[in-house]
């Protein structure tokens, strides 16, 4: 068994279909991490071995929310109010009151939320941010961009892993940058990088 620099045992097994995607923006986030301080990270997706391995080099608390399989993705098309959705998301996330995330990894999750659900998500997550909270996400440049049914991990600071997600893909509601900053008002977009498939990789800072 391989062992990482932090003594974390690494599991060499990877699905044959996993791919990687380079990131030119994410390394700038990693460089800003202060190793001597405990880092608090929200991963909105599922726990993946490579993500745990990557963060094992830091003193950190990793929270895996697994929101891609949360009922909110179905509830948003029902007759729930924004407040009800926000309450559901808060209960699902179930963060302790003193939680303040330094880094949020949203991946493409925000594009699975319609306008109402995204505002609700914004309401639910806002209490757990601080003024320096940073976030990474994928949005779109134009609304005709589609998202594949895939999940992301961090292989290296500049390299994401991409795995096919099992299960049926939920309906997507891509948000352009301008719409995203309106609906997700807790964040401002700092940097963006257009990807060949039309997605826009963005780094955000909390706007509290």
């Amino acid at each position: 068994m391989n062992t990482g620099i932090a003594g974390v045992a690494l599991t060499p097994v990877e699905p044959a279909t996993s791919r990687t995607q380079q990131s030119l923006l994410f390394p700038s986030l990693v460089k800003k991490i202060k190793p001597e301080r405990r880092l608090s990270v929200l991963e909105i997706g599922p726990a993946l071995p490579e993500t745990i391995e990557f963060f094992s080099q830091f003193k950190c608390r990793l929270h895996f929310a697994a929101m891609y399989t949360d009922p909110v993705l179905q509830m948003q098309s029902g007759e729930y109010t924004e407040a009800e959705l926000a309450e559901h998301i808060s209960q699902t996330l179930n963060f302790s009151k003193d939680t303040r995330f330094d880094l949020c990894l949203f991946w493409d999750f925000l594009n699975y939320l319609d306008d109402k659900a995204l505002r609700a998500f914004n309401t639910a997550i806002r209490p757990f941010l601080h003024k320096s909270t940073r976030a990474h996400a994928f949005t779109v440049r134009t609304l005709n961009t589609s998202f594949s049914n895939q999940q992301y991990g961090i292989a290296e600071a500049h390299m994401f892993s991409i795995r096919p997600r099992t299960g049926k893909q939920a309906r997507t509601t891509p948000h352009t940058q301008a719409i995203l900053v309106n609906l997700l008002s807790s964040f401002d977009i700092d940097q963006g990088m257009l990807l060949p498939d039309g997605r826009l990789e963005v780094l955000m800072t909390a706007s509290l």
Binding site: V13, A47, S56, F58, Q191, G192
Partner: protein, 183 residues
């Protein structure tokens, strides 16, 4: 310790737990080489503590505290309890907080919902986990930050690599000065 159990002739109806990770551990508890087994037909309501290793193939509701020993939740095991032990391996289902003073392993068949505190953590491919992980590598290590590949189209091993094009998006705000983990 675990070799010893292997040499014993087990009851034919009791499945043998997977013990690879435990057997490989160099720091097996010295005070007791014995391992208790909660079989798949057993259900325990209450707290468990003691001075030997534990394999759970049945169901436990309560707390498990074996600070100096190993706890394994086998594939048929279902634990609704907080677990504290030296090394914890989960191949079954656990709802509760887990503290491994040496290591926590979630096997590919494992399904864990709770918070984990451990200096070393292994999540095998296919394992399901929801909750938080507190990790502390000990001495502060310099983060591994590799420079982005100079050849954006190059692949890593046999994987397909998508390369971003350096096209700045419009309306992007000016870069701010910031630091992470700064509260």
């Amino acid at each position: 310790m675990f070799e010893k159990q292997r040499n014993n002739k087990p009851e034919p109806q009791v499945p043998q737990p997977q013990q690879d990770n435990f057997a490989a551990s160099a720091n097996a508890p010295a005070s007791s080489g014995r391992t208790a087994l909660i079989g798949p037909g057993i259900r325990i309501n209450g707290d468990i503590s003691g001075d030997e290793n534990l394999v759970v193939e049945g169901r436990v509701d309560g707390k498990i505290r074996l600070d100096l020993h190993h706890v394994e939740v086998g594939q048929s095991g279902c634990v609704n309890a907080d677990i504290t032990a030296k090394v914890i391996k989960i191949a079954g289902e656990v709802r509760g907080d887990i503290t491994g003073t040496e290591k926590v392993i979630i096997a590919r068949s494992g399904n864990v919902h709770g918070n984990i505190v451990a200096p070393r953590m292994t999540l095998e491919d296919g394992a399901i986990f929801k909750g938080s992980i507190d990790m502390d590598p000990g001495e502060v290590a310099k983060p591994k930050i590799a420079n982005p590949a100079k050849k954006p189209g190059s692949t890593k091993d046999d994987k397909v690599t998508e390369a971003p094009k350096a096209v700045a998006s419009g309306g992007v705000k000016e870069n701010k000065s910031y630091s992470l983990s700064g509260g």
